[in-house]
Point group: C2
Chain length 404, copies 2
């Protein structure tokens, strides 16, 4: 595990307890994996882990027995296990956690507590091919056990807490970006005309799998997508999609990546040309890199996020690509992989203001219907002095990369 | 899309309408991706799609605009779109779907209806690296718009509906298993001593990516895991996990697969030896294949699922491996990837009875602490005559495969 320091992340704990005080909550109770990670440093697998943090900053994990070893090195002091599956009875997570959860709440004196819980819609990264969600069950278990408990909405609080990262969390994200960087370097070196999109994406993914060999048994996932030629023109969708097209000479092609080491997610895109770029491709590349520079130059604590969006958007509009930049310039990344509603929303209508420790993507792009698209997406962190680009690498080898 | 037939799956629709009548529901409303697939044939990407089926069998999809094209070939008659992200405003799925959902409910005369919804804990396969969940939001939107609406628990109904597949759904699952089969054949041919587990798993995954090239633009995912040597001894956990161990001569190694074509999930394991198997390995393999045969021979409509479990368990116990078979013999597979609570639970305490069209895995296994584990996991379908094994292929090439 990344956060296997014997000392807890005191910065994170202080922020949580401050938020609890501010909202007059006695505790926060969460089961969404990215919330559990933010609260405790543990990135669950199946999604049935519950994190409970009390007003004094004590962090409790209720884990399925199968995941205890994974959470073993964490600095979280208090662990309780449950068994969602046994040979003795047919059961499930909802049934198996009921008693330990009620016992934990009682032992902490939460019988009449005000507990913050997430209940609204949520877009979060997955931690396994199957994911458990408690639905209304956790609330019901607590309400049944403690009729005087108050379960209060904490969705906004969790969203804000997740927006600003501690130094340790940024270290984890930096490491995650470093693995992606190696994958891009190795993958791009083998990218070529004639490959079908799945084969092209697989080059990068295989490289990522190799890059994850670091002897620390980190838990890593890498999703790579290839969108080439006309398929890249619609890459502004909420999701990336690899289809079956073969890469042709003169194509534009995007390689998009969402990867994670121990739950800290990246959101990266690089765009490639195949053969000497033509005038349009050179112009697109020039506009995108200039928009990127303008956005990066505007990033600093205290800056309204919509100004960063405007910086990129104005450059692209100046090149005649105003209508072709179809999405915001960025959104929060780290505990989120690809959620345009994660703070800071770097969007024309955003009311978010940048703070030191916020991490997000910067993704100027041009999508030309019937032709193709180009995007350069970096992960950045706001620092006290301005910005750190955590993915400060070029697209590829000189043969493939666009040259201005 | 797989289910792109111009004719709807009338068998599925009849089952749904029968279940609605039986429960006196006017409609079913679902957002969990595997429920949406079962109800409409559409496998969502982001998880924010909502399916609504009325008592007359009409199927409605509320889709994010980005996914309309994917659902375009489906036989579902009624589609409504919404825009979770735009440049004009900061929004999200929960906000964006509210009005179209209320309008749809009104247009269908559901203002005072009895609507079945899922609300309990649920373990389902993922359809993208990030997944949206509405939480309580959908219920609230409908209740706010229609104070006289009755939202009633449909969790058990959905679980039972998902358990028995139509002929068309079994075709989809058969195709999904066929892709996995190709991946196993190609991957196993390259499996060798010295590979680290991630590299070994990657062999199979790359092969699957190639096998998916079928010109139909199917949406496919393949998760492969390698657990070798002592790591295979703990492969009875709820999840599979590839670590960093290198495969050694004399090892046991499992390759576990959960893969999907268009949302129809497989659950497969094959076990390999490296070098001539020793006496213990030969005995383990003999016991497992015999347990498999005993379980398969017991499968037929009307048979209690616990008897299938007992058939496998008794064989393993007879070889002295009773304590080493630490989980049930199987569970429902297809709309579920790896959920031991999916019907039929092939488990000692199961009260489920097999029916024609049920699909599940058969996974006799032996886990020996401190040494290693061996498992053979197939996907099967109950037929009117007995059983069809959808993954009826051996582990690997003769060099690697265990020989009795």
């Amino acid at each position: 595990m990344t956060d296997s320091s014997p000392t807890p992340d005191t910065d994170r704990i202080e922020r949580i307890t401050a938020a609890l005080r501010e909202n007059q909550f006695d505790a926060l109770l969460c089961s969404i994996s990215s919330h559990v990670l933010m609260l405790t440093g543990y990135w669950p697998i199946m999604g049935n882990t519950v994190a409970l943090v009390t007003a004094n900053g004590d962090r409790h994990l209720l884990l399925p027995g199968d995941e205890v070893e994974l959470a073993g090195k964490l600095s979280v002091a208090h662990r309780t296990t449950f068994a969602p599956g046994t040979l003795d009875q047919i059961t499930n997570s909802e049934k198996a956690i009921a008693r330990p959860l009620a016992q934990l709440a009682r032992s902490l004196g939460l019988d009449r507590a005000r507990i913050g819980v997430a209940s609204r819609g949520f877009l979060g990264p997955v931690s396994y091919l199957s994911q458990y969600h408690y639905g209304n069950a956790l609330d019901e278990i607590l309400r049944d056990a403690f009729p005087n408990i108050a379960l209060l909405p904490a969705d906004d609080l969790l969203k804000r807490l997740s927006a600003v990262k501690t130094a340790r969390e940024i270290d984890c994200l930096r490491r995650s970006c470093g693995v992606a960087r190696m994958a891009y370097q190795e993958g791009a070196a083998a990218l070529r005309v004639g490959l079908h999109e799945p084969g092209a994406a697989e080059l990068f993914r295989s490289a990522a799998a190799n890059a994850f060999h670091d002897g620390r048994n980190a838990r890593a996932e890498a999703y790579f997508f290839c969108m080439s030629g006309i398929n890249s023109a619609t890459a502004h969708a909420a999701y990336a999609r690899t289809r079956e097209r073969a890469i042709e000479p003169g194509d534009l092609a995007m390689i998009h990546c969402n990867s994670s080491v121990d739950g800290y997610w990246t959101d990266i895109t690089r765009s490639y040309t195949f053969g000497e770029p033509d005038d349009r491709q050179v112009k697109m590349r020039t506009a995108i890199l200039e928009a990127r520079s303008a956005a990066l130059a505007r990033i600093a604590p205290g800056v309204p996020a919509h100004e960063v969006d405007a910086a990129a958007r104005n450059v692209l509009a100046g090149y005649g690509y105003g209508e072709n930049f179809k999405h915001g310039t960025g959104h929060g990344v780290c505990f989120a992989a690809a959620n345009h509603d994660a703070i800071p929303r770097v969007h024309p209508k955003s009311t978010d203001v940048l703070e030191t420790g916020m991490t997000f993507n910067v993704e100027p792009a041009i999508y030309i219907e019937g032709y193709g698209g180009m995007r350069h997406c970096d992960v950045v962190a706001v620092t006290s002095r301005g910005v750190e680009v955590l993915t400060d690498f070029q697209a590829a080898s000189a043969d493939l990369n666009l040259r201005g």
